[in-house]
């Protein structure tokens, strides 16, 4: 009575469309992860190159250290990772791995930056930011907006963000060095820890060297 052939054809076509959607989505998501991976590799290479340069030029003056000394891609890498993290389609294990790598790169960049500051006596223009993805943290989201806005305004500002609860030994060490309480969000500026939400204006007050960044940028 029911012509089942038509149902079978419709089912096959639907399955093919469904399969294609899954395949294309998978392909593009893999490509995105590759993208993140290759940025991470570039950043790692940048850091290695800077460290080597730094070691070689230990005895020379700060003038030899050009504007491209520190990697420029850490910021956009962070944005891409946090976007990918919020998408359900990505493989969690891949994301965890990329995040781990990213945090370590951040710490290495931070150490390099600190050495640079010490050697060339530059005012610190970096912020360490601890957030949480484990508990509901509304202020973390808002601080995230503020830091993105700050980085857009001052491209030379280096923001190092860390997932407080992420299981990386180096993060735990940072946490214990600065005695960061799990009262998130937490910002570390000039060795001082600030908890809770702070607006763009408040942070500009806390980091006076930000204004210098603009002047320096204009001079360049």
């Amino acid at each position: 009575m029911v012509d089942s052939r038509k149902y079978i054809i419709a089912f096959v076509i639907t399955t093919v469309i469904f399969g294609t959607a899954i395949f294309v989505s998978n392909l593009l998501n893999q490509k995105k992860l590759e993208d993140v991976r290759s940025i991470e590799n570039r950043v790692a290479l940048d850091i290695l190159s800077s460290e080597t340069q730094f070691a070689l030029l230990e005895e020379t003056s700060c003038r030899d250290i050009g504007p491209g000394f520190l990697s420029k891609e850490l910021g956009s890498l962070g944005e891409k990772l946090s976007y990918a993290e919020n998408q359900t389609e990505f493989n969690t294990e891949d994301i965890e791995y990329l995040k781990r790598f990213y945090f370590l790169l951040e710490i290495k960049d931070y150490l390099l930056m600190k050495r640079l500051m010490k050697k060339c006596s530059i005012e610190p223009t970096f912020i360490l930011y601890f957030y949480s993805t484990k508990d509901a943290c509304e202020d973390c989201e808002r601080v995230g907006y503020v830091l993105t806005a700050l980085r857009d305004k001052y491209p030379d500002l280096r923001v190092y963000s860390f997932d407080y609860h992420f299981d990386v030994e180096a993060i735990n060490t940072l946490v214990s060095i600065y005695k960061v309480k799990p009262d998130l969000p937490a910002l570390i500026i000039n060795g001082e820890t600030y908890y809770g939400f702070h607006s763009v204006e408040e942070l500009e007050e806390i980091v006076p060297s930000l204004k210098e960044l603009i002047i320096r940028a204009k001079a360049v």
Binding site: K6, A10, A21, S25, L28, N29, K32, T88, N91, A149
Partner: protein
């Protein structure tokens, strides 16, 4: 990098089917896609048939059966004259066509207007106390001995050739009822233009359902039946205020064949404003759900072919999946708007176009967006075919825009109300 040791299928399930919600979404999208593909295949199957009907139907009728048209009226003084005049202008032998009007206790000037037609040889006027549309129809049915009988709502109008486009289908002795194509009469408001497109979609759907024997409504405006249908299956019933759906289901249950003539055009007055449209659609959806419950034994019953195995289940589930998908999309967008406001509240409004990145990385490349895209593309293709079938040609009109923009927002309103009324067994009113 650490490789996962989980089997591929488990990985697939854990990666893609995060929870019941996602699973439900995938099932809804699969069913929607399946139904669209099914309709498309059906369209290709009947393509030649459609062209033939468009060219030849009604041009060469040899034998004209006698027909009675019942016009039930309740407070229709504004349109009743026009309705009756359109019937009198039908291109059909006068001695074969009679009209019975039934005033169902109108409180306006309907009866007076009807009495004005009393002297017309083709028209008889009946009047009774208000008892509902089905009682008005049944009163007229008692007096009928023509071969065929039809009904025309008093707010609807026929073209002169409409009946001629229906009659040839009765040459097939197994055909027990023929339904027409219903169009919107003189659209004026935005909602009416949107309904015009919606009705085109209805015309397409009914024609497709007709070809698989799965029509589940014989609409009030100008469905024509063999008179023996009522003698054998009984009169009209209340049918939860949708007597035309109840009758169609009763016929299907008894394996009485219903077909559709897409070239037989009937024009009906449609609600101009949202409250009236909302009320009408709550009634239709409520009627569908409750009649579906009454005829539940047809569901997944091989005896009833396509209508039992596929159309009734999918029509029912589509009410819920539409609500689910729209609800989910609405919620997701609400969250986005909320985030946007939090952002503005936090760092102020700064829209620097130069900073907007068009990096493809930030486009959602998940499975659901691709599936939604496929469903949408197929919907647009079907809408194109529907307008072509209903209007003969496709022109981009503002109705299409209104339909695509507004219906997403208003359909969930009446679906929700009808579902709630059904769950809580709350009666609805006609108007």
């Amino acid at each position: 990098m650490k490789k996962s040791k989980k089997p591929f299928i488990i990985q697939l399930i854990s990666a893609y089917i995060m929870d019941i919600q996602t699973l439900l979404l995938y099932i809804s999208l699969f069913i929607a896609l399946f139904f669209e593909v099914f309709l498309l295949i059906t369209y290709l199957e009947v393509y030649d048939e459609l062209s033939f009907e468009e060219k030849h139907i009604g041009t060469n009728i040899e034998k004209f059966p006698s027909v009675t048209i019942i016009v039930p009226c309740l407070n229709e003084e504004r349109t009743i004259q026009k309705t009756l005049k359109s019937l009198l202008h039908l291109d059909y032998p006068k001695d074969k066509l009679s009209i019975i009007t039934v005033d169902d206790g109108s409180t306006d000037g309907t009866l007076r207007k009807l009495n004005g037609f009393k002297k017309h040889p083709q028209i008889s006027v009946l009047s009774k106390k208000n008892g509902g549309k089905h009682t008005a129809l049944n009163l007229a049915l008692e007096k009928i001995n023509s071969d065929l009988v039809g009904c025309l709502d008093a707010d609807s109008f026929v073209n002169p050739e409409t009946l001629r486009k229906i009659i040839p289908f009765f040459d097939d002795l197994s055909v027990m009822a023929v339904t027409p194509s219903i169009k919107v009469h003189e659209p004026k408001s935005i909602l009416q233009y949107a309904q015009k497109i919606e009705y085109s979609w209805g015309i397409f759907l009914r024609r497709m359902l007709s070809s698989i024997g799965a029509l589940y409504v014989t609409p009030g405006p100008f469905s024509i039946f063999r008179t023996r249908v009522f003698k054998e299956l009984g009169d009209y019933r209340h049918g939860h205020h949708t007597e035309d759906m109840e009758l169609a289901l009763r016929m299907q249950k008894n394996h009485y064949k219903i077909v559709n003539s897409h070239m037989a055009h009937v024009y009906t007055s449609t609600p101009a404003q949202l409250p009236a449209l909302y009320k009408q659609r709550v009634r239709w959806t409520y009627g569908f759900l409750n009649n579906a419950i009454d005829y539940r034994e047809m569901f997944f019953n091989k005896k009833y072919g396509h209508i039992g195995m596929f159309i009734l289940p999918i029509a029912t589930s589509s009410i819920f999946s539409t609500l689910y998908i729209i609800g989910k999309v609405f919620w997701a967008n609400l969250m986005k708007v909320y985030d946007f406001f939090v952002r503005i509240q936090t760092i102020g409004f700064d829209l620097d176009i130069s900073r907007l990145s068009f990096d493809w990385f930030f486009f959602n490349t998940g499975i659901v967006p691709f599936l939604t895209l496929s469903v949408t593309m197929l919907s647009l293709l079907l809408l194109y075919l529907a307008i072509k079938l209903a209007e003969g040609k496709v022109r981009f009109s503002k109705g299409i825009l209104y339909y695509l923009v507004f219906y997403v927002f208003i359909v969930p309103l009446w679906l929700t109300k009808a579902v709630l009324n059904t769950i809580f067994k709350k009666q609805i009113s006609w108007r």
